[in-house]
């Protein structure tokens, strides 16, 4: 007669975790490739304006950023609370933009030079005067492809 054997304290087999590191590494590499490090430390504070007809900026290597906003708390004492322009890691003046564009263009590949896009990341409360000056400087530097950074509007 078949006997229902009372298990003599069968131990649970150890779970094989040998592939766990591989899986985690895969995830790690995925995140490493798809994400980008913050390109600069912001010295100005800005909240992007809202819009609906947005386009993605395609190639990161072709994009140069110009930040416009009020200086952050720690720079208030030195620079005041007037709207300022930030290029790379430093505050800049409108007159420096042409040089900046020329310099950046120099460092690009020959065939990519005219594909350069300048992304203007400006605070939504900025006055148009400074942006008009900026656009004139960009025109003089022949950086004609621009993009006004904005966030998708969710509601009116």
């Amino acid at each position: 007669m078949a006997k229902i054997r009372k298990s003599e304290k069968k131990e649970m087999p150890a779970l094989n975790t040998a592939s766990l590191p591989d899986i985690i590494f895969m995830l790690l590499f995925f995140f490493m490739t798809v994400t980008s490090m913050k390109e600069v430390t912001y010295k100005v504070r800005f909240t992007p304006p809202e819009a609906t007809e947005l386009q993605k900026l395609e190639k990161k290597s072709l994009v140069r950023y110009i930040y416009i906003g009020t200086p952050t708390e720690e720079f208030r004492k030195v620079y005041g609370s007037e709207t300022r322009i930030q290029l790379d890691d430093a505050f800049a003046d409108v007159s420096q933009i042409e040089d900046f564009i020329v310099r950046e263009r120099e460092s690009m590949d020959e065939d990519e030079k005219n594909l350069m896009t300048v992304s203007i990341k400006a605070d939504k409360d900025t006055r148009m005067g400074i942006i008009a000056d900026l656009k004139q400087a960009l025109r003089r530097a022949y950086a004609l492809k621009i993009s006004y950074a904005a966030v998708q509007r969710t509601s009116y």
């Binding site: 790690l28 980008s36 007809e53 003089r140 993009s147």
Partner: protein, 196 residues
């Protein structure tokens, strides 16, 4: 001699290490893709050219003037307007569906891929803003104008091809772009009594 067995390396902490790295990358990076409203600036003027020379003769009916003042109020073709009504107004101007005398002239032209079409070839939208206009207000106007063009292109693609503009192939998109060319001109900044 008995072959000495190489002791196995304990790899159980590997998972922890890679978890740590994973979490580090998750925290420090941002997935946010950069998005923006793409525009193209006009060519710079030759330095010896005067500002007046650029204002070529455009017929009054072909031009759609949008002015934004320092209080972010809109004046469209001499009338006050809310920014939410701008899209429809711009669409009507660009399309001129009723062949109105005061809206831009329609010309018939052969466009490759579309055949003979009637469209407002010479229309121009002119945006003028004040030095004190808020950036958000300016961008909203730009956004509505771009949206007007996008909607017109999409409507045309829908009625003509039964597909949305995005689904069409590149050549057809180019042809439709030619029919609805984005002509948003921005006035050369003028300094109204400034002290520069």
């Amino acid at each position: 001699m008995a072959k000495k067995k190489v002791p196995e390396i304990n790899a159980s902490s590997m998972a922890d290490i890679s978890f740590l790295l994973l979490i580090f990358f998750l925290v420090t990076t941002s997935m946010a893709v950069d998005k923006g409203l793409s525009r193209r600036l006009p060519q710079p003027l030759p330095p010896d050219m005067k500002l007046e020379d650029t204002e070529t003769k455009i017929k009054d009916r072909d031009i759609f003037v949008v002015k934004i003042n320092s209080m972010n109020q809109l004046l469209v073709e001499g009338k006050e307007m809310n920014v939410r009504e701008l899209r429809e107004a711009a669409k009507e101007f660009i399309e001129n569906p009723a062949n109105d005398e005061n809206l831009p002239v329609k010309t018939q032209e052969e466009i490759e891929g579309l055949g003979l079409v009637e469209y407002t070839k010479d229309h121009v939208i002119s945006v003028q803003n004040d030095v004190d206009t808020q950036y958000q207000a300016y961008l909203e106007v730009q956004n509505e104008l771009v949206a007007a063009y996008n909607e017109l292109r999409n409507d045309y693609a829908m009625t003509r091809f039964g597909k949305s503009y995005q689904e069409l192939d590149e050549d057809t998109q180019k042809a439709i772009q030619k029919m609805y060319p984005q002509k948003i001109s921005e006035a050369e900044p003028k300094n109204y009594g400034g002290n520069k």
